[in-house]
């Protein structure tokens, strides 16, 4: 039978109807027709609509192709000058289609009917209306306030947009709780510690990749994760044509595979490499003389083992070089580092030399891999100090910051806080920040940083006080926090927990009420600030399709609904405050949750879109045009502006950190002790002045080497949408784009030498045990990992995220094992950061 294209389509519509009721195996043509009948109705050009992808912390401006109301594709927003040249995005963005249309999404508010909580308890969730859900939540708030204990409410934030100012910023304060607890310390606070206590910058750095000549990546894998992923992928071919790349990572990442140098460091020994490289740069006279300064007579006195008289050196834009040398660097030879880090001295020398010779167009790139170790804070400082030595800080081809983001704040909540709220807000934040052993020295202040993972212990121990109620949004701490089982216990104990989430999750399973959230890329309003390629940008999350289910925006709509309900019950302050945020164009007061969301967004971004307000960067004729374009780009970064005054205590780039010294001394004073004691309780080895310079610390590891012979290494997946994509088919089907990994599986990678000793082969089912937990997964024998280590990607092991993510959702059987059930809950305490890298635990392997 021969059909022309035209008659073929015609026939398909006709036979489609006939075939509908037929069972069994259909003749080929009929089956073909059945499908075609449905598919040919909607051929249409569609429209690309702007929004934001928050699948990782790059935060790309993207566009969604919408055809007849359906999202069909995602691409980079071509208006972006930072991350998404020519509409490029990384593979993660495509996966989002399988998130928003995932049948396993929560489609309605639900309520737990089984009061018993636990992983093996069926919550017996039943659907309820939004009104019922909000009513119950409002009642709980009123009860806390009636008993003068509103501070016993905790707001847990995971990922966010800048509309966090409502739910995370204003709302708890108006209720009377200081407890807005962010996820930040799970992310990379220890890394920021490195740049802050050298150049006074608490933030992620941008890098001038287009102009660089050498890149040292400290555990970073920019082709797969970290920030500015699409930009890195886009320019990496050119970078490798022009520059050399050295990757320090115990595992062969894809960036390492493509690099000129791979330094498979013994986990946690990065500090040895960084200090040895500094030693080489100084002894060989390769530092940047115009940035750092020089010996007065031009004679290099940096000789191995010899102290230097500070008077002989005239420093320029840096501070404390000679003291750093005398306290730490003089004995940090490459030969010493070889013993510690397991990297040949000659390779350390070569990388240090070539890095310094390429400078100042050289980048020493920090990542969690180096810093998220119990003793990783100083390794981060040491790695970042290399940028200071070669003058690449804030310089062309080097490591830079961001331009200013011209947004404006929402009005103060102060006038709307009643006495109960004011009293509640006076309590210490519940996460134990600022305790003697948790300095959390964000931006130089004791207890300013968050200690996210400590919240579980605070709840369990009722220290500093009991927590009676919590709302969590866009987070999944029961999965994403090291020592995850503590979170299960903490949530079992928590009397009333509300989870706002798109999917069922390990955290939702412990909730009393679950509220379905709008998906950030498709269904909500919001905006983000990010940067790459020397450009800072602001992009808006927009509703590009009608929501798939009856969902609400976590950060604005849900607090509005609670505020309305509270007002109905007599407490009007929250709603009064919300109504004080007007439409900046018309002056209108919001009358519903959507208008409220939009007015907050318009208010905060007004300096960008309002032509009456003068700002740099992209210009817009008004709100409608900004909405249509979806992104504002800054002017290109202005280099060397910080050189005049870095903002440190001395105004210089500090090798001897007076800024850290002041912070540590203040924290010690607060606890009536000295810095040595603080070093001790934070598990650091340094005593005396060593605490104020970047220096080597032995990695801290859980587990005895005899019982737990392997060092555990974890890494990120280039398909992880922050551990929320494992329920996407494409995630599982393409999991082997992470080198060494396997499709539809969760593997522990082991070197063939070790596998041989254990009698393991690829595909064997194994159990990994650490001193604090155990998981099951599959063995993968692979040369890309260092002997003596077990390397495993984070992201699999979900037991409650949906039917694809789990091996058996109904039986709570995970696909593989969650690394966080293996990792102990420990901290880089000076920053408050949770630790997971640098071989923080040892493990043993059992064949099943």
């Amino acid at each position: 039978m021969k059909l022309s294209r035209r008659s073929f389509i015609k026939a398909s519509v006709a036979t489609g109807v006939i075939a509908a009721g037929a069972g069994g195996t259909k003749p080929m043509l009929q089956a073909l027709a059945e499908n075609s009948g449905k598919e040919n109705k909607q051929v249409s050009e569609g429209e690309w609509r702007p929004t934001v992808c928050q699948g990782c912390t790059t935060w790309c401006a993207v566009q969604v192709k919408v055809v007849n109301g359906r999202a069909v594709k995602v691409r980079g927003n071509p208006h972006s000058k930072a991350n998404n040249h020519d509409g490029k995005v990384c593979p993660r963005a495509h996966l989002s289609l399988q998130q928003v249309y995932d049948p396993d999404r929560i489609k309605t508010p639900m309520k737990r009917t089984n009061p018993k909580k636990g992983r093996n308890e069926d919550p017996q969730f039943v659907p309820i209306t939004w009104d019922e859900a909000i009513d119950e939540i409002a009642e709980k708030f009123l009860e806390l306030r009636k008993n003068n204990e509103p501070h016993k409410f905790v707001l847990m934030r995971g990922r966010y947009t800048y509309l966090r100012e409502i739910l995370y910023g204003a709302f708890p304060k108006l209720i009377g709780s200081p407890n807005s607890i962010s996820h930040s310390a799970l992310c990379a606070e220890a890394e920021k510690f490195g740049s802050y206590y050298t150049e006074h910058y608490w933030g992620y750095r941008d890098y001038d990749l287009r102009n660089t000549r050498y890149v040292i990546l400290w555990g970073a894998d920019p082709l797969a994760s970290n920030r500015q992923v699409p930009h890195a992928m886009n320019v990496w071919g050119e970078v490798m044509d022009r520059a050399k790349v050295a990757v320090i990572d115990p595992r062969l990442s894809v960036t390492a595979a493509k690099a000129d140098e791979w330094l498979p460091v013994i986990p946690g020994e990065d500090g040895a490499l960084a200090t040895a490289m500094a030693h080489v740069i100084l002894t060989e006279g390769l530092w940047n003389k115009s940035f750092v300064g020089d010996f007065v007579d031009g004679v290099n006195r940096f000789k191995q083992g010899e102290t230097v008289d500070p008077e002989t050196f005239q420093e320029n834009l840096t501070y404390g070089l000679v003291r750093w040398w005398n306290l730490e660097l003089k004995d940090r030879t490459p030969q010493w580092a070889e013993q510690k880090a397991g990297i040949p001295a000659e390779q350390i020398i070569r990388v240090a030399r070539e890095f310094a010779e390429a400078a100042p167009k050289a980048i020493s790139w920090l990542s969690p891999g180096t810093s998220m170790q119990v003793r990783g804070g100083y390794a981060a400082m040491a790695a970042h100090a290399l940028n200071g030595l070669v003058g690449s800080v804030d310089n062309v081809g080097g490591t830079i910051r961001s331009a200013k983001y011209p947004t404006q704040a929402i009005p103060s909540v102060e006038p709307f806080m009643d006495d109960i709220a004011k009293a509640g807000n006076k309590h210490h934040k519940v996460d134990q920040r600022g305790y003697k052993e948790f300095p959390a020295l964000k931006k130089g202040k004791s207890g300013k940083g968050v200690v996210t993972n400590r919240l579980a212990d605070a709840i369990l121990d009722e220290d500093p006080y009991e927590v009676k109620m919590a709302i969590g949004y866009w987070n999944n701490f029961t999965f994403s926090c090291a020592g995850a089982s503590r979170w299960e216990k903490a949530l079992e104990k928590l009397p009333f927990f509300v989870h706002i989430t798109t999917h069922p999750s390990e955290m939702a399973m412990f909730a009393d009420i679950v509220l379905p959230a709008a998906h950030h890329l498709y269904e909500r309003l919001g905006y983000i600030e990010s940067k790459a390629n020397t450009i800072s940008y602001i992009a808006m999350n927009q509703r590009v399709i009608e929501p798939v289910w009856d969902v609400r925006i976590d950060e604005t709509e849900i607090p509005w609904m609670i505020a309305e309900k509270l007002a109905e019950k007599g407490f009007t302050n929250v709603l009064d405050y919300f109504k004080s945020i007007k439409d900046p164009e018309t002056g209108k007061t919001p009358t519903n949750s959507w208008e409220f969301s939009e007015y907050v967004l318009k208010t905060m971004t007004q300096p960008i879109w309002d032509p009456a307000i003068k700002t740099e960067g992209d210009q817009f004729s008004g709100w409608e045009e900004f909405k249509k374009v979806g992104i504002w780009n800054s002017e290109p970064y202005k280099f060397r502006n910080k050189w005049k005054d870095f903002g440190t205590k001395t105004g210089k780039f500090e090798f001897y950190s007076e800024t850290l010294k002041a912070a540590l001394e203040h924290h010690a004073e607060k606890h009536n002790t000295n810095v040595d004691d603080i070093m001790k309780v934070t598990k650091y080895q340094a005593r005396g002045e060593l605490a104020f310079v970047p220096h080597y610390e032995e990695p801290f590891r859980w587990g005895d080497e005899k019982e737990y012979p392997f060092i555990f290494v974890e890494h990120r997946s280039r398909l992880n949408r922050e551990a929320r994509s494992a329920n996407c088919q494409w995630y599982q089907e393409f999991k082997d784009v992470d080198p060494g990994d396997e499709r539809w599986d969760d593997v522990a990678k082991i070197n063939p030498v070790d596998a041989g000793k254990l009698g393991l082969k690829t595909g064997d089912k194994i159990r990994l045990k650490s001193p604090t937990g155990e998981i099951e997964c599959t063995a993968k024998v692979w040369e890309g990992v260092r002997p003596g280590t077990i390397v495993k990607c984070y992201g699999q092991g979900h037991w409650a995220y949906g039917r694809i993510a789990a091996k058996d959702f109904k039986k709570r059987m995970p696909r593989g094992g969650n690394n966080n059930e293996l990792l102990p809950a420990d901290y880089e305490r000076l920053s408050g950061s949770t630790v997971r890298h640098g071989g923080v635990t040892r493990v043993k392997v059992e064949k099943l």
């Binding site: 080929m28 249309y101 493509k258 791979w262 784009v737 040369e783």
Partner: protein, 228 residues
């Protein structure tokens, strides 16, 4: 008439798989079937290890063994040098699958996208099912791309084969294949092999290249330059 070909620059390739995922998206490719795919291998001994990644797709061979093997003319060469497949002629005999030395032709053993017909709910009445989702949309599945149906079955049914068409539906509209468009590192270049000034020819003149299975006599038209 153009003679279409593709050059993949392995130096630029980041091994991310965006090509393979975007292809599934563009062409409504069901689970387990890969029009675009990749090969990877790890060689050497620690610490001297090399990991290589080679994206793959139908080579649109000039001497296509799959075309020769097809008894009904379903698998055919078009006027632009593409190897295309007509599912309305296909009898599902799989002769092309057997003849294809690259493993890029797939046979639909099952009803495609069965996921979207499944009735199971993760949590009863709280979450949805594939079937319920499917009912809400007038297409085979919610993110179904209707453009694919312009030149080929939008979804290929059980009982026939399917493979990469080099996005012939996009080429006809002056666009590049979606894997080329979606490659974040700009590693893929598409163009006319018979045009001496095309970008593909510029690259092939500038760099040495290799093709998969050079010795098969298939004259593949996917060229690889430089090293991963």
């Amino acid at each position: 008439m153009p003679n279409y070909a593709m050059v993949i620059d392995l130096h630029k390739c980041a091994g991310c798989g965006a090509c393979a995922i975007a292809c599934k998206n563009e062409n409504n490719v069901p689970e387990g079937i890969y029009w675009a795919n990749y090969i990877h291998r790890t060689r050497g001994k620690f610490p001297n290890v090399r990991y290589e990644f080679i994206p793959t797709l139908c080579n649109h061979c000039e001497e296509a063994p799959c075309v020769k093997a097809c008894p009904v003319g379903a698998m055919h060469k078009d006027e632009n040098g593409l190897t295309l497949h007509d599912p309305s002629k296909c009898i599902g005999c799989k002769a092309c699958v057997v003849a294809d030395p690259y493993g890029v032709i797939y046979f639909n053993e099952e009803k495609p996208h069965e996921f979207w017909y499944d009735k199971e709910e993760a949590i009863e009445k709280i979450t949805s099912s594939g079937q319920e989702m499917g009912k809400n949309y007038d297409v085979p599945f919610p993110y179904y791309n209707p453009d694919r149906a312009k030149t080929y079955a939008g979804v290929r049914p059980k009982g026939v084969v399917e493979k990469c068409t080099m996005c012939d539906h996009r080429i006809k509209e002056g666009k590049v294949p979606y894997c080329v468009y979606s490659c974040p590192s700009g590693a893929r270049v598409f163009g006319d092999l018979d045009d001496p000034n095309s970008e593909v020819n510029k690259l092939l003149n500038q760099y040495s290249y290799f093709r998969l299975g050079e010795n098969f006599g298939t004259k593949p038209k996917v060229f690889y330059i430089r090293e991963f």
